[in-house]
């Protein structure tokens, strides 16, 4: 069950994992992008965490809204409007308290904003299998890891990496990795029933 408290805990944990892996995310992005995904994400999650410190929340919806604005405003790269749109859409259905509904809304927000689908070597390649596994009630760490690894053989057809064409093959997509941290943090919390 999603509650206000465990939503804040989940996203706080996400922020911590991102900060710990800043250098790794930058390194992944330097291989097929401009090397800033870690720094971008850290700017975003630090703004988010500062808001969490400063505010009291009455509903998960507000937590998602604040997260959306922090990530949209502070990331500065393509992942800003994408994560921003995801959390904005999640806020709209947060009142269902249903994780599958909420994350699927987030996934659709990313697809709409990025005009992308699965297999384009983006964060969608993690969000989609995670939503599917959650719906089947069997999300595990290994499903998340597999989804990240599965971005390696793909050729990027969206985002900055798409300008590399064939040269994008063989590397992990940085946005897929940062999204994996979001879902690892989710597993670490008590949000998933059953």
């Amino acid at each position: 069950m999603l509650t206000t408290e465990n939503t804040v805990q989940w996203l706080t944990k996400f922020g911590e994992i991102i900060s710990m892996n800043k250098a790794y995310l930058n390194e992944l992005d330097s291989r097929i992008g401009d090397g800033d995904h870690g720094s971008n994400m850290v700017r975003g999650v630090e703004a988010m965490l500062a808001q969490f410190e400063a505010m009291e929340f009455n509903h998960a919806k507000d937590v998602f809204k604040v997260t959306a604005m922090a990530l949209l405003s502070k990331i500065g790269g393509a992942s800003g409007p994408l994560y921003g749109s995801a959390f904005m859409e999640m806020a709209k259905v947060a009142e269902t308290n249903d994780l599958v509904t909420i994350l699927t809304a987030g996934l659709n927000g990313i697809k709409k904003r990025g005009k992308a689908e699965v297999n384009e070597k983006t964060m969608i390649d993690v969000w989609e299998p995670v939503c599917q596994a959650l719906a089947e009630n069997n999300l595990t760490k290994s499903i998340i890891d597999q989804a990240v690894q599965a971005t390696k053989p793909l050729k990027a057809t969206k985002g900055r990496a798409s300008y590399l064409g064939e040269r994008s093959i063989g590397e992990i997509d940085p946005g897929a990795m940062s999204s994996a941290y979001l879902f690892e943090a989710l597993l670490a919390g008590e949000l998933i029933d059953g």
Binding site: D34, D36, N40, L72, S73, K74, G76, G77, A78, S79, G80, P81, L82, G84, S85, R113, G114, K158, G159, R160
Partner: protein, 126 residues
């Protein structure tokens, strides 16, 4: 007939200097068109900023705008600004400099919105 110069232009780039350079180029040929520009993140680094793009849109004298951008993240941020602002924004997928330059010159020449959009079609690259 409505004065087309009531339509403005906003330029959003990843780099402040690129946005400014594009503005300088356009402004020379379209002195009567309201053109605002924005580039880089809040910290002045390479990237895009939601607040700065929103400010450039709001600061434009016109309530209806053509918007031009360089790369994908500026486009996606512009789309969110488009959904947030009360202004009417025509987001153009043309080559940044050629598209913006053509729009500026045509607005200065008082061409209609429909005519300008038609003329920009061949410059669409994204």
């Amino acid at each position: 007939m409505a004065d087309q110069r009531s339509i403005g232009i906003v330029i959003a780039s990843h780099v402040e200097e690129l946005a400014k350079g594009t503005y300088l180029l356009l402004q020379e040929s379209a002195p009567d068109v309201s053109i605002t520009y924005v580039g880089g993140t809040d910290d002045g680094e390479i990237g895009s900023s939601f607040e700065k793009i929103l400010t450039a849109v709001e600061a434009n004298d016109a309530d209806e705008l053509f918007a031009f951008y360089d790369l994908g993240s500026a486009k996606m941020t512009l789309e969110i600004v488009q959904e947030t602002s009360d202004k009417t924004i025509h987001l153009m997928d043309t080559a940044l400099i050629e598209g913006a330059f053509a729009a500026a010159a045509l607005l200065q020449g008082n061409y209609s919105l429909t005519e300008i959009k038609k003329q920009l079609v061949p410059l669409t690259i994204k």
